[in-house]
Subunit: 426 residues, 2 copies
Amino acid sequence: MDITIGFSDDYTQLLSPELEKRLETIYNDMKSKTAFGSDYLGWLNWPSSISQELLEEIKTTANHIRSTSDVLIVIGIGGSYLGSKAVIEALSIPFEKNDSLEVIFAGHSVNGSYLKKLLKYIDGKEVTVNVISKSGTTTEPAIAFRFLRQYMENRYGSSAASRIIVTTDQEKGALRSLAIEQGYKRFVVPNDIGGRYSVFTAVGLLPIAAAGFNIIELIAGAKKAEEQFGHFDMHNNPAIQYAVLRKRLHDNGYIIEIMASFEERLKYLQEWWKQLFGESEGKNKKGIFPSSVQYSTDLHSLGQYIQDGQRNLFETFLMVKNIDEDLTILESNNNGDELNYLSGLSLHAFNKVCHEATANAHLDGGVPHITITIDQIDEMHIGHLLYFYMMACAYSAYLLEINPFDQPGVEAYKTNIFKMLKKPVY
Amino acid sequence: MDITIGFSDDYTQLLSPELEKRLETIYNDMKSKTAFGSDYLGWLNWPSSISQELLEEIKTTANHIRSTSDVLIVIGIGGSYLGSKAVIEALSIPFEKNDSLEVIFAGHSVNGSYLKKLLKYIDGKEVTVNVISKSGTTTEPAIAFRFLRQYMENRYGSSAASRIIVTTDQEKGALRSLAIEQGYKRFVVPNDIGGRYSVFTAVGLLPIAAAGFNIIELIAGAKKAEEQFGHFDMHNNPAIQYAVLRKRLHDNGYIIEIMASFEERLKYLQEWWKQLFGESEGKNKKGIFPSSVQYSTDLHSLGQYIQDGQRNLFETFLMVKNIDEDLTILESNNNGDELNYLSGLSLHAFNKVCHEATANAHLDGGVPHITITIDQIDEMHIGHLLYFYMMACAYSAYLLEINPFDQPGVEAYKTNIFKMLKKPVY
């Protein structure tokens, strides 16, 4: 299992003994937990240290949900939402409910129409709710949970509690207290792992397992990544290379990164990536603005801007080497659509050509590009890729001298809301 | 029916006699069709000049599709896709197939797995195909159509032709020739309306009508907008005001615009907007980079970057005054979630508070904001809004001295593909 990285320019020319030293320092500071934000470095060795017991408990719970429910409603926002959403979407097959259990997300936005229709939709279906909030006090999921809890209690009476699972802090928070009082099953968000790094904890694993995917393989991929990318060799570590490339591009005025994929099912993985990098780096007036496009469709939308707009952006392609299912363009007798020149070409091969054609066209227009390639899309490779991004992100932020693990700016809007709505403590 | 616009700073201070003169010139040049790209100004008076006959023909065709089909597959990319997708998503109700006919899009990307599963999904369902391509030669939709045409011919034999509808150029292109040869029903993309301005032509109207929405109301809204925004008064025309604000922000170094909405169903309207502005303005190394977020969810993702990352972005909220369906937060006896301070508040009211709280927090962090408010989401108001954006976009591009109606950069990747795949003409 491998991740390869390509760059439109000569990577080696970016290297220097000073950079090597800086990377070594970052590595050592992370290892010795003396870097900024070290209290949140729990993700670093999580794949290799997650207990078999916890994995079994998650699997057992997921199987129980699958055998007793038609729908699992996952309530969460930000890091309590995007990780499992990204993995489930990446692994799901289009037009197929590939499973008897449907996973529906709520609480990531506040929307009366959505919630109302959701409540109507689940009527007559057996339901389990998994509410995920590290602090247990984030308003948006708490609002959704107030409605869902009421619904569950009205519908299931005293057995509602057995259909509600809480994933929250080990020691504190309103959600934890409520869970204890009501006797809900609880999973823990580790203290030392922040929301956007939490996909390999119960936060991500329970919904992913309930959706029918293999979390053992997902963790195995992450563990492999932990081994492969857990060193600071700037010549041979793609996570480090990605971080170095981003830093150099940033320093040269490329302040927007566009992550491009030809696989629509990686759309939420792109959203997860935007949170990971945007929230980790976007501090102290620094950071690269993360944006995403889906190709080919966005070649006919943002493509014009990328080709010829302001020259302050670079493009990072996420490519997949092998695809399970494909179609091949066949010869047509009358060639009325003038496509016979493509006969014999598979659609995946077309996309590979399109990648090269696009990268070169945009480069000619002044847009440098990086290409990250994974072998295939399955649990193992997705676990591997997500950990790769986490590692790259930590180095990226540290190279900018930013703490990758806090998010002070997210509090600002919350504080304003609490004041405006006169929350008792404020 | 009204659109209001707000700005975090004093709008009037941006005004000057020179600006007024410039706007008047743009207006006159558009009116007299002497501006850059005047060959593509057909959208300007389209809502007031679309023939009753064409509207009737589209409605009749849509009704025929609805009475003979379970699924309409719409094949298109870019402007042949995003307009109808945006309107259909905006008007659809979550968790409800609000209609007996399902509209599925294809050809906006090249994906073997998607197409294969789509072909499997439609087996046993009655199908109509609407293939939309102005040039008739864009590769991605042409590939999808080759597969679907084969499927339709295998399945329906000689009556396949009666289930295929082509929307293309009046006079030229492979798709037009094929349609004539095969006897497909044809609709025309007017010569003087480009893809991203084409939602009010058959390109957008047929799929929207087939999905069960009222295109007469949609056009009525657009017509109202044509009247309201068809003058150059910089004091009283929100379309002009939006263009002026964008220009001034751009000139002051705000080079990323983030369109924020609290309504998830406006997500594809945001995508349509990104194409409209990105493809119209992103030329000659100029233009504002268009990006979008959905709130609240992205407050826990890109929110940190917006609050505290590089200070080169501004935020444009798209707000909706009244919502059809809503829920109100009720008092809870035990208040275990500590949310009783929100009792009596509707979710839509929460979002309005969240809008104000967020806009102020981001402004404190150095992010200017614009707020565009529409009254409600229905056919009439969406038609009104889409035309508003088209008008604002034309002025925006002209203020940057850019032709809003061409897309020379989109050809670059195509040319590379054709060379690499040895297309006969290349």
